[in-house]
């Protein structure tokens, strides 16, 4: 019996370790090869506190958890702006350093580790036997699993996945990616540290081999095996890998050491094959037991909930996809100058090395006006957008949004203040559903903030309902409600551009900067996208469009600026601009 409990304990520890690693790798997209080392910080801390300071079981667990969390947060700071390969390298380096320190410090027991930990006990009951330890470990693991589930399958997890998909786009819809990264590193490390401490108590030993790079790689293997970013995947991965070792031992009648080696060979080979045949792991991210059962022809539990039923019938929005009408004309009668400027730009300048991309630009975006920005390639239009939204800092000049100086602010702060942009290359979160893409943009969601997510579940679920309603409204505005449940990566380019507009709308920003919303779209989509944009001012939006499709821009823009070589050289209606032979020459190249 004790033998089974022993295996169960190992399974629990590795399940929680891989769940916490999945938060990092699968959800936030932060590949860490230092997870076992971070767990080791917890393990060594608990061991040292128990042996040298005689600290009790529970307080030492708490301290160990906190120390690991601090280490994780520390590690996240250099990790903030690294690419995947640099992050792999950085965490690898951190792991090697930590293990070497453990190996070569006499106070930490060197290669033998810290031995002779006291028997853990709680409420006076000893946890010496595996069966006694099991129940306590089960409770702790259940709490960790609940926390994991709450973090992963929630608005918070949605933001993490957005980080993984496209950091810049996440910032563009107002998410402070730095805060999320630090938090997720700290949280995942805290869980790992707790498990490391429990493992040390269980074995009454904290040694380098428990927490070395091979162990970290094994944890990564478990996560990938089960399925990155899937809620349950890591449970399956960890359980399978841990249990296989004793099974091999028993059935092949070989020593534990040899079984461990064979197991590693099998899993290494399986990783290679898995990457080829099923890179998403055993349980993929968007796996649904319902759909799997349906595919097997089994009756659905809770009958009636058919797949695809999620999306409500399309509401009759401003731009119903069925509406055959072409785009409307800009209102001929509006008096541009009478409208209040919402965004004013003065003397904006940006140089890349010797090339002055934006050279003293002044412009105003007026309330509920669609302003066009035209000019030849390389005129600096996109750079101007990047400056306006804080993606790059200007060298000089000021940008005011509703009277407030926003020069030098970060993209997410500017988005939260009410100016958001779309991207030329769309940048949807491709491995998330259309609905999730749009819901993510809902601002001030309590469920995206850790204390509120955990402390105010009711407010969170209320906000989640509101976000959902809003997202569906925005999707119906662009006429794509029926695609709400699809993965964004499965949409056509035109549809993606419309979803991007819906996402912009859902941010609640009043000023929308659209970077080539029509270019590259199939002809039959051009009118539809134009129609949607044309309907924005009526929703109270101030819009600025960069667009090369002059036909479409003519339908859209109330007012245009002509930009060449980093300067604004003319303004007026598009017809006026295009009547000027010099501008025509500048635009089409004479």
């Amino acid at each position: 019996m004790e033998y089974r409990f022993d295996i169960a304990n190992q399974v629990l520890i590795f399940v929680v370790l891989s769940l916490s690693l999945n938060l990092l790798i699968g959800y936030a997209g932060q590949v860490s090869l230092a997870h076992a080392a971070i767990a080791g910080i917890g393990g060594y801390a608990a061991a040292k506190l128990a042996i040298a300071n005689g600290m009790d079981f529970v307080p030492s667990l708490v301290l160990a958890t906190l120390m690991a969390a601090a280490a994780g947060a520390f590690l996240s700071v250099p990790a903030l702006r690294l690419t995947v390969q640099h992050l792999i390298l950085l965490t690898l380096a951190a792991a090697v350093v930590l293990v070497t320190i453990a190996n070569s410090t006499r106070d930490l027991g060197g290669a033998y580790g810290l031995v002779g930990m006291p028997v853990p006990s709680i409420f006076g009951k000893s946890l010496a036997k595996p069966s006694q330890f099991f129940w306590f470990l089960l409770c702790v693991s259940a709490i960790c699993a609940l926390l994991y589930w709450r973090l992963a399958d929630s608005p918070y997890g949605r933001v993490l996945r957005a980080l993984r998909e496209d950091e810049l786009a996440a910032r563009a819809v107002g998410k402070n990616v730095f805060v999320y990264k630090v938090q997720v590193f700290a949280l995942a490390s805290a869980m790992a540290g707790l498990m490391g401490a429990l493992w040390a108590y269980y074995l009454r030993l904290a040694s380098p081999v428990q927490f070395n790079v091979t162990q970290s790689l094994l944890l990564v293997t478990m996560v990938i095996f089960g399925g990155m970013g899937s809620l349950l995947g890591p449970v399956v991965g960890a359980a399978l890998i841990v249990v296989s070792s004793p099974i091999l031992e028993k059935n092949l009648d070989i020593g534990a050491e040899k079984a461990a080696l064979i197991r590693l060979v099998i899993y290494g080979a399986a990783l290679v094959v898995l990457m080829r045949l099923r890179p998403e792991g055993l349980i993929p991210e968007h796996f649904s037991f319902r759909r799997a059962l349906a595919r097997l022809g089994l009756p659905l539990p809770g009958a009636g909930a058919a797949a695809g039923q999620q999306s409500p019938p399309p509401a009759a929005g401003a731009a119903d996809p069925a509406a055959p009408a072409g785009p409307g004309q800009p209102d001929a009668g509006i008096d541009i100058a009478a409208r209040t400027p919402v965004v004013t730009v003065e003397g904006l300048r940006k140089a890349f090395g010797g090339i002055v991309a934006v050279d003293g630009v002044d412009l105003a975006l007026r309330e509920r006006v669609v302003t066009g920005l035209v000019g030849p390639n390389g005129a600096g239009k996109t750079t101007l957008f990047n400056l306006l939204t804080g993606v790059i800092p200007p060298d000089g000049g000021t940008i005011r949004l509703k009277g407030k100086d926003i020069t030098g602010m970060t993209p997410d702060a500017i988005a939260r203040l009410g100016m958001a942009r779309s991207f030329q290359d769309v940048r949807l979160f491709l491995r998330m559903t259309v609905l999730e893409n749009v819901m993510l943009a809902y601002s001030r969601h309590p469920g995206e903030h850790l204390p509120l997510l955990l402390g105010a579940p009711l407010a969170t679920s209320r906000a989640e309902r509101r976000a959902r309603e809003l997202a569906l409204e925005c999707l119906s505005f662009v006429g794509l409600v029926d695609k709400a449940g699809m993965l964004a990566g499965g949409l056509s380019f035109g549809e993606q551009k419309l979803v991007a507009i819906a996402r912009l709308l859902a941010t609640g920003a009043d000023v929308l900067l659209l970077d080539e919303p029509i270019s590259g779209v199939d002809p039959q989509w051009v009118d539809r996208v134009a129609l949607v944009i044309r309907a924005l001012p009526a929703q109270g939006k101030t819009v600025c469009v960069v667009e090369h499709n002059l036909y479409a821009l003519g339908q859209l823009a109330d007012h245009c600026y002509f930009m060449e070589s980093g300067r604004i050289t003319a303004e007026g209606s598009l017809q006026e601009l295009m009547a000027d032979p010099r501008l025509i020459a500048a635009y089409f190249g004479a």
């Binding site: 590949v31 700071v77 250099p78 702006r81 690294l82 690419t83 995947v84 390969q85 640099h86 792999i88 390298l89 950085l90 690898l92 380096a93 951190a94 090697v96 350093v97 070497t100 320190i101 190996n103 070569s104 810049l168 790079v213 790689l217 990564v220 293997t221 990938i224 050491e257 040899k258 080696l261 064979i262 590693l264 060979v265 899993y267 290494g268 080979a269 399986a270 990783l271 290679v272 898995l274 990457m275 080829r276 890179p279 890349f352 991309a357 390389g378 996109t382 750079t383 990047n386 993606v391 790059i392 991207f423 030329q424 290359d425």
Partner: protein, 302 residues
């Protein structure tokens, strides 16, 4: 922590020896990474394999050392080419990104290391390669061996030869072209597949040569590849340029830093120094700037 200045000449010499070594390994890794874009952790497999093949051929089969050396390098080269052909290319064709390839590479490394453990005994699979006319020299109180000298000369010969190859031969220029812009290279009619093979063959051969030296200098052990690959990673990532000489000099610098840390610390802390340097570098390097620039470039030119 006491300063032991009298050790300087010896430590400096050791640093040059190890650093030359690191430079070549980093160069092989960097060549593969920059030209093919593969995050080739299985460089470790090539390295370990070459060492064990040399030992097996020389000691178990009885082939003369020089020929065993040569055959081991050929095997190393082939193993790299096969990894590309059998694992990476199909993965990349199936849409496996950088992470997918890295993970497959990780799987290969785990398989190879443990197969070797299973084959040569789990406890001590350590095998050393003997037969090199090992002679110690002492010059001005600094001790080194004939093997160290051979390794350093080989290292710099290979670095310069590769530099010459890349700069002055048609094939070298093609490799450079693929490194700078693979799509454009394909458009102008370069067979990038063949270039990948060539690069894997060269990079893996470099690893093979120094794996055999490692088997002679220390011993062949199952995890020797992973340690050296980590160092090759560090060198490749920290190298400021992609030119062979600058990569090799980065390796040399790393070797010197590692070795000279022995003036203050005991030798077991050397990995902490190496990876500590990397950690600080990654944390502080102007990644932000470079990344931001690249993003902007993409937005501007799209």
């Amino acid at each position: 922590m006491d300063f032991r200045g009298e050790l300087f000449p010896q430590l400096f010499t050791n640093g040059v020896i190890n650093g030359s070594w690191y430079g070549v390994l980093g160069l092989g890794f960097a060549l593969i990474l920059t030209v093919t874009g593969r995050f080739h952790l299985a460089y470790a497999v090539t390295y370990t394999l070459a060492a064990y093949v040399a030992v097996a051929l020389s000691q178990d089969v009885g082939i003369p050392l020089g020929i065993a050396f040569f055959l081991a390098v050929v095997v190393a080269s082939l193993s790299g080419v096969m990894t590309e052909g059998v694992v990476y290319r199909p993965l990349a064709a199936g849409g496996g990104g950088l992470l997918g390839i890295f993970i497959a590479s990780l799987g290969l490394t785990i398989v190879a290391e443990n197969l070797i453990r299973l084959t040569w005994g789990a406890g001590s699979a350590s095998r050393s390669l003997v037969g090199f006319p090992l002679r110690p020299f002492t010059v001005l109180g600094v001790t080194f061996t004939s093997l160290d000298m051979a390794a350093v000369f080989t290292a710099w010969f290979l670095v310069l030869a590769l530099a010459f190859f890349l700069s002055y031969t048609p094939w070298g220029r093609i490799v450079n072209a693929v490194r700078v812009n693979p799509e454009m290279a394909r458009v102008v009619g370069i067979n990038t597949e063949r270039v990948h093979w060539l690069v894997f063959a060269i990079g893996s051969a470099l690893a093979g040569v120094f794996a055999v030296y490692a088997a002679m200098r220390f011993a062949a052990v199952p995890d020797m590849g992973l340690q050296q690959t980590l160092i090759a990673f560090v060198v490749a990532f920290m190298a400021l340029g992609t030119r062979p000489v600058s990569v090799a000099l980065t390796g040399l610098a790393l070797g010197l830093v590692e070795s000279l840390s022995g003036l203050f610390l005991s030798a077991q802390w050397a990995p902490v120094v190496v990876f500590g340097v990397l950690f600080v570098y990654l944390a502080l390097r102007p990644v932000q700037l470079r990344l931001a620039l690249r993003q902007v470039q993409r937005l501007v030119t799209a």
